[in-house]
């Protein structure tokens, strides 16, 4: 029970109860992904046929590692939001939707953690 007027409570919030948050995060990560995605294409193209020593040297380079970490974070946020939209569009049952939202989050988190762990391990030795 606050002092807010009803208008204040709904202002900037649509039926999803989160306003333009989803839309805006999708756009921000999309802009980042344009640059980071092109970087990934360049990186992989330059490492085609490379042996482990060269790949390790490339991925443990601080600038490349930073760009890879940025790509992983921005990419997994973007793909989680995108898959959420697909689920919202095609899955009608409320229970199935909630389960798929969770699986979506778990998958994105798994990809992010595995990839970040690999980059950090390559960067900090071992």
């Amino acid at each position: 029970m606050g002092m807010r007027t009803p208008l204040k409570n709904v202002r900037h919030l649509g039926s999803a109860k989160e306003g333009a948050d989803h839309f805006w995060k999708q756009r921000v990560t999309a802009v980042a992904n344009v640059f980071l995605g092109l970087f990934l294409v360049w990186l992989i193209a330059s490492l085609v046929g490379a042996d482990h020593a060269r790949v390790k040297a490339a991925l443990s380079n601080p600038l490349i590692a930073l760009a890879m970490l940025a790509l992983i974070v921005s990419g997994t946020i973007h793909m989680r939001l995108g898959m959420q939209t697909i689920i919202e569009d095609y899955v009608n049952g409320e229970a199935a939707k909630i389960v798929l939202f969770m699986l979506n989050t778990f998958f994105a988190a798994f990809i992010a953690l595995a990839s970040i762990f690999a980059i950090l391990k390559l960067s900090f030795g071992a």
Partner: protein, 139 residues
């Protein structure tokens, strides 16, 4: 159940919103569908990127094993498809940025942007793969 309770006989024929199969495919509609499909493909394709990174972090032996999978022809086909999906989704995203800014909504521009994203994605994919092939496996 509402029909039985209301006692008004048969259910009224309400208009249904027409769906995909009703329309003849226009290029912007097809590119919109491609955008979603490539997005979903990229989503699951991140498993390959994570696998490759984990392999690199695991050491030479496992990395060579994973590399040998990517070197097979199905592996190469997936990589080729991934390259195109990434570029097409990226160009589709840039098209959406233009539309987000409220520009490019006349029919000519819509067709141009839609065909453009298809053609440019194919050309860029070919350019990247030819340049890698002729550079003899990277710098």
């Amino acid at each position: 159940m509402a029909d039985a309770a209301s006692g008004r006989g048969s259910r009224p024929q309400r208009p249904l919103s027409p769906h995909l199969q009703i329309y003849s495919p226009l290029i912007n509609m097809v590119m919109s569908i491609f955008h979603r499909i490539t997005g979903a493909a990229l989503y699951f394709g991140t498993l390959l990127l994570a696998w490759w990174l984990i392999a690199a972090a695991s050491g030479p032996q496992y990395f060579d094993y994973v590399s040998s999978w990517f070197a097979t022809w199905p592996g190469q086909a997936v990589m080729l498809g991934y390259t195109w999906a990434l570029l097409h989704h990226m160009l589709g995203g840039i098209r959406h940025f233009i539309w987000d800014l409220g520009k490019g909504y006349d029919l000519r521009t819509i067709d141009l942007l839609s065909w453009g994203s298809l053609i440019v994605s194919l050309v860029l994919t070919a350019l990247i793969w030819f340049s890698v092939a002729f550079a003899g496996g990277g710098a």
